[in-house]
């Protein structure tokens, strides 16, 4: 093995089961890459934490602010429930695309509670239904649909559920709107839940099939 450019071998072979090792220097580009990443690493850390004063939380806040600026009405939009035939029709489409896997094709329930009866775990007014659709019941697996469905879609699917519930139970439209006056004040969330929920606590645990 005598080539022209053969670099020096170290001569350890008899101590390494015959494996020789060359005395080659570190490749320049390899060493350069190593230094480059080290310098970049120091620079990045200082930049992130000091010069740029960045943080995970800051990133989140900035992203939310940008979204609020881009879609301002959405950030505020409190949905006023509005019932109409058009709303029911379009609501049916929303329901049959998103809600039926848990609540049943005919609103008969399943994984989630039924809408063809008089029992409402979280309150039985249109505003209650709207609120649950928007905010979800995360502990029980109900999705918060705000941000997934548009405000109109949430209104329409509520209209669809109300209309079908009227058919099934014979309630009047007014009875769904009854409490609407009650939560004219912005923090409507708690006021509505307390009253109607108490009598249906028992059925809360397991909606039968």
């Amino acid at each position: 093995m005598s080539k022209q450019h053969e670099p020096r071998v170290l001569g350890h072979a008899d101590e390494a089961d015959g494996i020789e090792e060359y005395d080659n220097p570190l490749p320049d580009w390899w060493l350069g890459l190593f230094w480059l990443t080290i310098i970049w690493g120091g620079f990045y850390a200082v930049h992130y934490h000091f010069w740029g004063n960045r943080s995970q939380e800051g990133e989140f806040i900035a992203e939310m602010q940008a979204a609020d600026e881009r879609w301002p009405e959405q950030a505020q939009a409190a949905i006023q429930f509005a019932m109409s035939d058009a709303a029911v029709t379009s609501g049916e489409a929303v329901y049959q695309q998103n809600c039926f896997p848990c609540h049943g094709v005919n609103l008969e329930g399943g994984i989630g509670p039924a809408f063809d009866d008089d029992e409402w775990i979280h309150g039985g007014t249109a505003d209650d239904v709207l609120r649950i659709i928007r905010e979800g019941v995360l502990t029980k697996g109900m999705v918060a649909w705000e941000g997934i469905l548009s405000p109109e879609q949430i209104n329409d699917v509520t209209a669809y559920i109300v209309a079908r519930n009227m058919d099934a139970t014979g309630r009047t439209l007014d009875s769904y709107l009854a409490s609407s006056g009650m939560d004219a004040e912005p923090a409507e969330a708690d006021t509505v839940t307390v009253a109607p929920a108490s009598d249906s606590q028992g059925s809360q645990s397991e909606p039968e099939d």
Binding site: E15, I19, N24, L33, T37, I38, Y44, Q56, Q74, G147
Partner: protein, 487 residues
């Protein structure tokens, strides 16, 4: 003895004084490797099938994905890769140190203890007995057994180094040492738990601390179980198979120390955008990026060692396997640091991209390095030429094409789901609000992965048959000439 002959076969010119090596233990680990390799990959193919076609869960708790997945990871990492390392270490260290193992009984305790641990894992995991920490699922009694067996191995290993007949410790031995030491520390620290019953225990860490310790362990399981021992194997078997000197001794020293120092800090790249404090996330990210060069040092030393043997690489499937292994090592150690960058990880995390990354390292680097080593070793260990030499080449192509199909499918799937999860339309709504819709779109990629993984498995089974026939097959007339010089 032979100052100028380069990586020549030393045993040929070292006559009567050949030490009395313990090759029996090597044969035992060799056999276990092949069996567990096939089992682990078979379970991999089964869970790949389950992800593509859910009825394969069989509607039984014991065969459901959630229980078979940890069986797969434990089988391929600790049973397959573990036994590969032990095979290579017991074979090469005796030769590198010119001495028999320190204590034959310890070798046997190590072997049987380890196989028993694997069997108990294979029973307990499908039963649903788990600690729920990835790659550290085994329940506490098995954890204790692992510790005891590892200590037996460590005594035997360092004992052998103590009684060595050479001064110089070859680079492969350093890598083995980092494996033996670091795995002991990682396993013990991460597994600390208070037993409640025989089958249940509570970790001594809580919440975020538990998470951080877990991924310090998890990442270094990759680093010190799937990387450093395999680099050690590469440093022995690649120059032996290529019959070429190692490219650079200096590079091997620098990249060894840089690698073992840096790896230990990189765990937080598994916890980016979590409750982990920002500074710790930065630490993990920066150390991961700095890991590129030290990792590539290993790849370079492998590839440049083959320089001058390229004509043989073209014809010798064993060298081809090693080239592919080292190339995938370089690829996945570039991909990993990129995935450690916050912005990239925000996209890649939770997606199949991570699965693609895992298997380019696991199938490409770990698997191919193992196959190359086993094929080189088999005729030397069992003193008979391979029964079906051509099959080695078939195996090489099946595995290589299989890896490419597997990883490309997972990259595509990962990018697709990552982008679809976050896509927002002009109205500020999610474009794909139903998570399940995106999941359902993954099916073609899941089927492709099944195909790629299936090809990989077929290759491994062919290897198993080849070895079986090599050891047990009838004597072949051409045998005498075909045998390589004893190792």
């Amino acid at each position: 003895m032979e100052p100028n002959s380069v990586a020549a076969d030393s045993s040929r010119s070292a006559p009567a004084v050949t030490p009395n090596y313990d090759d029996g233990i090597v044969k035992m680990f060799f056999t276990a490797t092949v069996i567990w390799g096939i089992v682990g990959m078979l379970v991999g193919v089964i869970i790949a099938l389950q992800l593509a076609w859910w009825p394969a869960n069989l509607n039984l708790p014991w065969t459901s994905f959630g229980r078979l997945r940890p069986l797969h990871t434990n089988a391929v990492i600790f049973a397959f890769a573990g036994n590969v390392c032990f095979t290579g270490i017991y074979h090469s260290m005796q030769r590198l140190l010119k001495t028999r193992m320190f204590n034959d009984t310890l070798s046997r305790i190590h072997f049987w203890g380890w196989q028993l641990i694997i069997v108990s894992a294979a029973v307990s995991l499908p039963m649903g007995l788990t600690q729920g920490k990835e790659y550290a699922e085994l329940i506490w009694p098995i954890d204790v057994a692992v510790t005891l067996i590892w200590v037996a191995f460590a005594i035997n290993f360092f004992g052998t180094i103590a009684i060595r007949k050479v001064q110089h410790l070859y680079v492969a031995i350093w890598f083995y040492m980092s494996f033996v030491l670091t795995i002991a520390v990682l396993h013990i620290v991460n597994s600390l738990a208070i037993p409640a019953t025989l089958l249940r225990s509570y970790p001594i860490y809580a919440g975020l601390t538990d998470g951080l310790v877990q991924w310090w362990y998890g990442h270094n399981a990759v680093g010190f179980f799937l990387t450093t021992p395999f680099l050690g194997l590469m440093y022995y078997y690649l120059p032996r198979a290529a019959e070429r000197p190692v490219f650079s001794y200096r590079l091997s020293i620098i990249h060894f120390w840089a690698l073992v120092f840096l790896y230990i800090w990189a765990g937080p790249h598994h916890l980016l955008y979590s409750a982990l404090p920002d500074w710790a996330q930065t630490l993990g990210m920066v150390f991961s990026v700095i890991l590129i060069a030290p990792s590539w040092g290993g790849m370079l030393n492998g590839l440049l060692t083959l320089k001058g043997a390229w004509d043989r690489v073209r014809t010798d499937p064993i060298l081809k396997m090693m080239v592919v292994a080292v190339s995938f090592y370089g690829m996945s150690t570039f991909e990993g640091p990129m995935m450690s960058i916050r912005a990239v990880n925000g996209l890649a995390h939770y997606t199949n991209w991570v699965i693609g990354h895992v298997h380019s390292g696991a199938l490409g680097w770990v698997g191919m390095m193992s196959f190359g080593m086993l094929y080189w070793l088999a005729p030397r260990l069992f003193n008979r030429p391979l029964a079906y030499p051509k099959w080695v080449s078939h195996h090489f192509w099946l595995a290589t094409i299989g890896i490419v199909i597997y990883t490309v499918a997972m990259w595509a799937a990962g990018l697709m789901e990552g982008l679809q999860w976050r896509a927002i339309n002009d109205a500020g709504q999610l474009v794909n609000p139903i998570f399940l819709d995106i999941t359902a779109r993954l099916q073609p990629f899941m089927l492709l992965r099944l195909l790629g993984g299936g090809m990989y498995l077929v290759g491994a089974i062919m290897m198993g048959i080849n070895f079986w026939q090599t050891v047990n097959g009838p004597e072949r007339p051409e045998e005498a000439d075909a045998l390589p010089q004893a190792a």
